[in-house]
Amino acid sequence: MTSGSDGRRPVLTGLGAVSCLGAGVGPYWNALLAGGAAPREVDLPHLNMRATRMYRVPGAAVPEHPRRHAGVPLGAVPRMAVAAALEALDDAGIAGPDRADVAVVMGSEMGNASVQEERRGAGGAGRPRWTPLAVAGAAVGTAIGSRRGNIGVGNACSAGGYALGIASDLIRSGEASVVLVGAADGVTRVGMGGFDRLGAADPQRCRPFARDRAGTMFGDGAAMVVLESTTHARRRGARAYAELAGVAWSCDARHPTAPDPDAAQLVRAMREALADAGLRPDQVGCVLPHATGTALNDAVESRALRQVFGPGTDRLPLFALKAMIGHTSAAAGIFACLTAALVVSRARIPANAPLEQDPDCAVWLPLEGPLRLERPAVLANTCAFGGNNSSFALTGPGGTT
């Protein structure tokens, strides 16, 4: 190791969120400690399906601006992304002309599709204008005045995890010093309807690892984090929540939508993320699993965790975030990263939502809490259609807690 490479270790210095728990990271954390949100009915026409609820961002938390980008009308998703981005940069203390030097990496699943959907669903009343996936990233880049690279990551429900890895590699390779990385997703009937038709949507709530779980339930929102090199953060005297110590990716290459029951590639992603971070499994004090509430995912992920952590799995606290905010699709990985950063920096793990646990999911979900984070690292997983897996590990800045 040289001092040069040490200085490129990426640290998280700013956080921003708009979620079903409201606008802002402060209310988000307090609401997680208080047990999270309850889902609400989605009031859209033609749903005609079993599962019609989502973890919805309260109307008052959806910003009104910016309304357009390059002539494209912006729906709630890019607007929430811009609000979260500005919060994250303010939190990091990056202002004015310094924002021109911030690269943007943006994960998206349905992007600005709600605008397209509303207009097409209005009986052809409105002619939808161009709404490529990249528009959310473009709107964020413009809103903060970035003149650096702007990368759109379309890795479905693991887009957040992949975006974090791309941002981390930008910093570790020396391509960038500061990257605003995030993701946002919204309410679309296409997404809800698709999962309903696969029989993978729970009509009650998102119940990861529960005996009677019946599928996932989506949530909307945006999460953004500021990632910067240790050297850059030190030079400007910024405090860091955590270090993004390791990231790894893999692909099942087995089924277009379902996870590989053997979990070989998810296990590989977790082990490689720990190796990338220079961590042993017994140094992990909490895991934020992908844990969507679908029957297969949660059982497979439980087995994968036991392969990685062995008998120690019984004493390893898991925090099933989606039970509190739903499955935020592309944003799930960034919400997990943001939550992990708060767990590391505050050394506290929120209690899980009450559940009757599935005996086929042999993991520990503490129902009382918050617990103290007893070991230095937090590991998080994201998985997606296409067999995409991503794992990443956070530690205290400089490997401490």
Partner: protein, 335 residues
């Protein structure tokens, strides 16, 4: 270098780069009117009868979306029947801005006409923006990183850069890079609404690997990925891409006059543009004495300004491999 704080990116004590520059060893096209990458160099290529999606009902193609079918054709041609030696260490990087647009629009129309019960579960995977990368991985059992980029018109050159970065970071030994944009009804409508008269219907694939990996499996490097730049202006992007290269540039594969302008030839190529440009570069090294090709994507001549793009310009410098020589042969097409 697992276990060190900088992990994969730790610089060796002597400061030398840990890897030599990655190389392109294979190209495959599935583009209407073109037989292969050499046709990109010939403005009067005669493959007009060729349908890039002719095998739509063939093995492994049924029930897939058009973008994925085009991509799978291009990948099969690029691999030319060869299997990559270590699928677990092979990445897939797909660039596409509109690959799933037809599925999403169709689903919306179906919901309006028939409610959600009209949606076919078989098509649900196609609504996902990463469906093409997933199918490519599935067909060839590629278990390395699986990335989908949708960064606008720079996305294809970005994808080639990220393939190179994956190799440099030790995340993969080889990468299958695909740029694909299907000509579906919603895509056509959106292009027309924004002033385009023609646009691509097709896919291009590159095999990118470490030089030693190519040597070990006995394949010929066709182009070296030498430099990359990304900036708000073309001049700055090119300056970044060429900062370590002081010899004369040969061909410019770039929008606008004075070079090989694939947008003028094929229409808007969006996320496929950069991958097609690199395929053209590989063909050029076989057919000329040029030592370098400069690819540029994302400025006003590619339609980026009207596509709601982030607005950046990407530049990629490709150079002739040391063992390279003019006069390579046209590929055998085995699909």
């Amino acid at each position: 270098m697992p276990g060190t704080p900088a992990g994969r990116w730790a610089v060796p004590p002597d400061g030398t780069p840990p890897e030599t520059s990655p190389v392109i060893t294979g190209c495959g096209l599935a583009v209407s009117g073109l037989r292969d990458e050499y046709d990109l160099l010939e403005p009067t290529a005669t493959g007009a009868e060729h349908d890039p999606d002719a095998g739509r009902a063939g093995p492994g193609m049924r029930h897939k979306d058009r973008a994925s079918r085009l991509a799978l054709h291009a990948v099969r041609r690029a691999l030319a029947g060869a299997a990559l030696p270590d699928p677990a260490a092979t990445a897939v990087v797909v660039s596409s801005n509109f690959g799933n647009l037809d599925t999403v629009c169709d689903f919306t129309d179906t919901i309006a006409a028939e409610t959600v019960t009209g949606l076919s579960p078989i098509r649900v995977p196609h609504m996902s923006s990463n469906v093409t990368a997933g199918w490519v991985a599935l067909e060839h059992s590629l278990r390395g990183p699986n990335i989908t980029l949708c960064s606008g018109t720079t996305s294809g050159l970005d994808a080639v850069f990220w393939a190179a970065t994956l190799l440099a970071a030790g995340r993969a030994e080889a990468a299958v890079v695909v740029g694909v944009e299907p000509d579906t009804a919603p895509v056509a409508r959106l292009h027309r609404e924004h002033g385009a008269r023609s646009w691509l219907d097709g896919a291009a694939c590159l095999i990118v690997e470490k030089p030693e990996h190519a040597r070990a499996r006995g394949v010929r490097p066709r182009a070296v990925i030498t430099g990359y730049g990304r900036a708000a202006r073309r001049d700055d992007a090119v300056r970044q891409a060429t900062k370590a290269y002081d010899r004369p540039l040969g061909l410019w594969v770039a929008p606008g006059p004075g070079g090989l302008d694939l947008t003028a030839r094929l229409g808007r190529c969006s996320g496929a543009l950069g991958v097609l440009q690199c395929a053209a570069a590989a063909a050029r090294f076989d057919r000329s004495a040029d030592d370098a090709v400069q690819a540029v994507a994302g400025d006003e001549h590619t339609g980026a300004r009207t596509e709601g793009d982030p607005g950046g310009v990407a530049a990629l410098l490709l150079t002739r491999p040391e063992s390279g020589h003019p006069g390579g042969d046209r590929h055998d097409i085995r699909v």
